[in-house]
Symmetry: D3
Subunit: 305 residues, 6 copies
């Protein structure tokens, strides 16, 4: 079945400390799942689009956790169960109210063993949009290969190719990231990132020159901005009570792609993107708070009795 958006990457189990303070003093952690690309896929699925996702997890309970949640969310997921490696794991520490830290147990994880063959079927099945992030190429050589294969295939078949740079300093250096991602970004239709991330792949101007159609700068609480050859649009962040900013960027991308699939214009894309992001910011967890299409207009509607 053809999907609207095909995403791929690593989705891990996450254990989150439940109160601010050093992790070594924590007693209780909450188990969940996290993965930038699957968050986007869930966001799109909740908004009524057909979202696909491809990735590897271990043949273990944490892998089942990932697979079951994606099914629950109606993501059209190809979850390869790797018998030879465990599902990756992420510890999230809230060092202070403002400052989060992560520890990865993802070296040699199942997710990092993604390879081009894993994507073959889904690529052949087709999609309107390919979404990938700068995390996947950092995971391993095979994952980099898989990314290149997917991007080339999508570009060759005229799909809209979207990159969210998502630079992860724990996985590689800025130099390594820049080397790997710049050529991939050049093949993209839409590139998302914060200022520094966009610079890593050459900056908005250069990207547009190379043929990227839309460059979207995410500015956290300061909102976001789209630059195209034809102009520049910006939108403030939607005011919202703050539960946990993690996942805001992925939610933003989901909202943006949803509007793009609906053929909305630039301001409307930013508006949906910031609205979906506001739901993420106002709830705990990366993907849990993402809105359904029916909930979108409820944004900011306050308290029912």
């Amino acid at each position: 079945m053809t999907v609207d958006v095909l995403a791929f990457g690593e989705t891990m189990a996450v254990l989150r400390a439940t109160a601010p303070g050093p992790l070594r003093l924590a007693r209780t952690m909450e188990l969940g799942m996290a993965g930038a690309e699957s968050t986007v896929a869930i966001g799109l699925s909740r908004l009524g689009h057909r979202a696909g996702w491809v990735g590897r997890v271990g043949d273990d309970e944490l892998g089942s956790l990932v697979a079951e949640r994606l099914r629950a969310e109606r993501v059209d997921a190809v979850v390869v169960r790797d018998p030879d490696a465990p599902t990756g794991l992420l510890l999230r520490e809230q060092r202070t109210v403002d400052q989060a830290r992560v520890a990865y147990y993802r070296t040699a994880s199942a997710g990092s063993r993604l390879r081009p063959e894993d994507l073959r079927g889904p690529l052949r099945a087709g999609a309107r949009v390919l979404l990938f992030t700068g995390i996947t190429p950092a995971l391993s050589d095979t994952a980099l290969d898989a990314t290149r294969t997917a991007v080339d295939h999508a570009a060759a078949h005229g799909w809209t190719v979207c990159l969210d740079v998502n630079h992860r300093t724990k996985l590689w250096t800025s130099r390594e990231a820049s080397d790997a991602l710049t050529p991939l970004a050049a093949k993209a239709t839409v590139v998302f990132g914060d200022e520094a991330e966009l610079d890593l792949v050459g900056g908005a101007r250069a990207l547009l020159d190379k043929g990227v159609r839309e460059v979207v700068t995410k500015r956290g609480a300061d909102g976001a901005e789209t630059t195209t050859a034809g102009g520049r649009w910006s939108a403030p962040a939607r005011p919202t009570g703050l539960a946990d900013v993690i996942g805001a960027g992925d939610a933003f991308v989901a909202g943006y792609l949803s509007a793009l699939l609906d053929d909305l214009d630039q301001p409307a894309r930013l508006e949906r993107a910031t609205t979906v992001a506001a739901f993420a910011v106002g709830t705990t967890g990366d993907w849990e708070g993402l809105p359904t299409r029916a909930e979108l207009p409820q944004y900011g509607s306050g308290t029912a009795r």
Copy 2:
């Protein structure tokens, strides 16, 4: 025994999600109780007034929860145990930090089966003030009858009659509410509501024209305002850290009525009302955080060591 204030209505059990996010992903909920009129009664009792309350609950554990708490709070409660219907139940979802949603399991609940006879004894026993809300008439025909009976009795006996409009869109349409509440409001001495709710019963001007003595507009974080034939007074909300705004309006009413019973002037009524409301806003739950009279002056006193 004559009470200072007699209230009546439906008090339900409430189950509250403990973290922001969609209810379907919640794991743990907290059990408590909720009811606008009983919150006012508890508030008054804590402030040292004799508060009465009448209502029905089921002959079940959740009904006992309500009855026991009202006894604990020294509310002079007539809790009719209805053997034929369950205690109403309310699920409270914190969809995002800012946005709460409710699901009711109160159709055909014991509380909605309130009828005029239930009020007979307490009305005969007498009170200085009658408090009712716009929720009760929405529950059932018998509850509407009970409300009319009570208002007529109180008006006839020269009690101060207070209405808190409290429009509930899940129970009836604005049109239905307007039709039922406007004549009741006309018989009131004091009417509370937000701007829209007051419009539903004709607006402040019309109410005063019909003989209502004080119309009090609640404006959430913007405070409140009293309009009488003789003038207009307003008060800002008291600055407070925010735990949960639910119950603020009921707390406000409790504070206002307390000051009215103490014969304080208009500014002092608003001051006590907003102070009691600040306690509600700064704590979790509808009634849990209401201040005792001894605590009133502690408002804003900060942190003891």
Copy 3:
């Protein structure tokens, strides 16, 4: 797609008190889902069979909870979202360590509005086995009709028809149950129940006389027994630490049907049934602890380090 087993009924949200004691003193409850037939379906799905389920839930968060979990468990579910009624709700109180009590909020629930049309598609799609319980006919006239429709269709098409009597005293009297269930039981291939439940539908002997092929008596901690025209087999309960016996009977049925689908002989059916039940008894919740096929042989394997 043809399934191995088709089940139907009402699945509700459940709120469970987390510690023994009267519900009115509880503070925290855990949110989950419960439904005898969907528990059997989940059990079968985990054991590798294609399990279908049909039922109604509300168009609300609790309905989504049910729908998402069934998808997660790969149950081939037709979850009708009823816009006019809420998802049923069940409160589970652990009055003492040994004594559980329930309070239902299921009157006029979506699930009780099941009707014959809801089953039309799945019945047409076909199955090897039809599973129904004595709960569904107790829910409403339309649900009783739906049950009759399904049983007649299945019997007419030569499916194996399985009834788990599951008498619910809160829903109807023994007399009502007997009247409704006896004719349905007569059309069944396999009937499950405890001694008293089997008596309600005529007793093992009479059932066999009417053409029922296997009558299975569940005896809790004392195990179970199968009676057929050709003989009688019994099996002890599997020794297991006890977490929560709720769901044991449904787990038992899932195990039994799994073995039946695998064409195992009578002793092996009881063995699998009691093994799957032991997993249910040794974990909290109705369906959560059901084993995958890979886990079956791990029963009783003790503690890994």
Copy 4:
């Protein structure tokens, strides 16, 4: 108002560790209340008797906790709020599954400041039964005086005087206890204790010789035994799942006194006593699990669905 049973003593706040292990490693504790005599009073009140209780607490939140719970339970309580001393506090450690330890913060507590005057009104109001325990005389000189005053008054007015020995080794030595309690026991109508406690006050034989009417030996899991001048009756403990044995003895006394008030014969007294105790054993907390009269026959009724 005359009560059926008048009890008095110290009721404290209790903080309970929620998992077995050394207290120094605990993270979370549950707040409640504990007091042998108020547990008996709650037990009697739930069984439909009019139970009175007299004691002191501080003018603090923990004192309010005690006062509110007793009101909730319909105990006719005289809760003296002592402005000069805090409410006593008890830490309960579950050192291992089988071994509980306590730490008291009750030196100079409000409760230990009980004095004869506190009892004057309630004694004058009258009762059929006086219940006291060996804990109160150990608290302070004034509490010992209060005990003597009450016992003398009750004996003089022909009340049934009941003593539960309840020896507390943290409060005084066996020698001190024996000296203080033996003369008090001699004035009692019914004396409860385990074998060693009864020996402390002279032993069953000597007590009967001095005019005690019934001596009841509590034997934990081995049940209980009544000895009178006329005979000896024993009863096994009721089989029950075990949550927490604390409070079993007080529950037993409540059940026994309830049957005595109902004029049941010796075997029926033991039966009710052990049944009420079984509810206590099968739930967490001292008084939380005590049965209402309606629940008494539900003992052992198993699991509802």
Copy 5:
């Protein structure tokens, strides 16, 4: 072994309510430890200094909790186990989001029985800085003696003597505090306090006149200010999300002393003080969130992924 800073005082166990609301309605409390001077010692130890602490606790589990944590934190602690008195206990109620209240169970606690002999060894061993607070002299006569002994010894041996006034209105009146603390302050090198506390010991001007070298005014969210004979420096509070302001002042002192030991200038002392305080404000608990030296530069670094 010589330490950099020697502190002494009372460290108690603390039980904290986990949600805002009146303590009497709390169900769960968290167990921890609290003590102004040990918080400073932990802060210094984490910043890489050798910190000593002297105090008494009971020979009980809560005393072990204190002793074990100080060892864990590498504080060079002399924890005297007093067999005759329990470890002090502190209940912390979050009455509203903004308003905390405490109840002490520290009368006749082990910690209050500190006496000069307890300090003998550590004083003889030597230190560069002595830290004491205005709490210790309020605990008992022997604790006041111990304080005087320590201050005199330190002053005589040319140590830097630091006083954090920390006025506790629950322990003594302002008058008593002033009488006891003014002469002690006169012997100090550095005095910390808020405006009112500094006035209690004569005010900044008078202190400087008496030879105090630095007077540091803590102003909560408004930052802090140092006054010396030579000038005045002020620093704003560091912007931070707020978890719990308790312990901020002690954290501030730890940061200040750390910079002083590192021989940093006045602005740098205030900067480190406010930075360490920001870590305390942004985490729950008094000492839990204090930064290690490696974490200091991470202040305000936001969210890692």
Copy 6:
């Protein structure tokens, strides 16, 4: 400083599911630490012996958790902080009440990088007893080397050498274990294991023939048995309520070595071993419940009030 017992190995962080059921459905996990050898060291330290431990952890929060707890427990620990590898992590699933499962994240962990040099200092410092387990040689080549180095050194210097076989099937095959451990066992003075583990290293008879002095067979709930050249002694398990059997074997070894250090005879060694084990069985966690010397005689002392 010379210690009584020197142990070494890998200690990891552990995350434990808090309720029985499949890990993928867990929501909350508890953070702690686990390591067979450090459990023995903590047990010995609590019993008043000087216990040393050597191991590696990462330079991360979980490593600090380990280091801080060992300091808190007064274990004389050399905790090497490895900057190049993370602290190992263990997920503990309670699949059913009786059946635990683990998932390791310890491949290439810091702990597995133990090497001979890490032990040099502690070996030189000396000890009366060396304790090692069959886990360490399975971790890596360097860890195997470290084990050999330690055993050879200890044997050469006449220390008592103790091996607890502790076969871990997730780390190596029985064949690999047998090959590596048999020669090490031959050099031991005391060897602990269950029947199957002892067979892995040749069986009791062969071990004694090779010069092992005491072979101790652990039989879980069936107690334990010592075989020496001179005889055979057995002891039943101590009856105890069961919280969590994990850690029982390590507790047993701690008790045994404690008695050995105290020069008790064979029956007394088994008695102390089974008593210490009973504390472990009756509490949650591996090491948390281990008794202090003062607590030893409290075993089985029941419930204090």
